[in-house]
Symmetry: C2
Subunit: 106 residues, 2 copies
């Protein structure tokens, strides 16, 4: 498992970085979420994705209430350091609508 | 080919939406880019991805100078309308560093 260096991440003015979340075996893009330095660090320590919810303005441990957690398989940073790619093993659907990904009709 | 409805896109305060770009056959996530309404419309008309470069603050037709264009296979919107997933056929490497994706070591 590659794990990115948080010191290398270029967060935006709000202290956030977009995280592209991809299912490890199907290759499907599940969702785009946002993280700050703290939730990235927590993700790495926990081995599961923890985001920052922009709408609720709070830490968001994905699956904490739904059970649909995302175990980290690989975390990498793009060439200019401002996007994270999280390859995960999603336990259950990623979307709050109950679909496997957030990019499906429902 | 699905094509999103631009009227349904929720652009951010800067008038931009993040675009997750995925290679259609390998499933690899190539990059994350940004588009505005105008470049999304142009992408759909052209059948190739046109972005908005935040660093150069201008329209950016991917591959116009490098030849590494991205033909659109599918364009969809996520459940809350604030992220685009572009499934493309990339002609050549997506990254300006010459790697296939922007998420590789170089």
């Amino acid at each position: 498992m590659r794990l990115l260096e948080i010191a290398e991440v270029r967060f935006n003015d709000a202290g956030l970085v977009p995280v592209v979340v991809q299912q490890h075996n199907s290759g499907k893009v599940l969702m785009l979420a946002w993280a700050n330095a703290e939730t990235l660090r927590e993700s790495i320590e926990l081995g599961e994705m923890v985001y920052f919810s922009r709408s609720r303005n709070e830490r968001w441990h994905k699956g904490e209430t739904s059970g649909n957690t995302q175990r980290i398989v690989d975390l990498s940073l793009d060439c200019d350091g401002d996007t994270v790619l999280a390859i995960v093993d999603s336990h259950g659907p990623a979307c709050h609508n109950g679909t496997e990904t957030c990019f499906e009709e429902h």
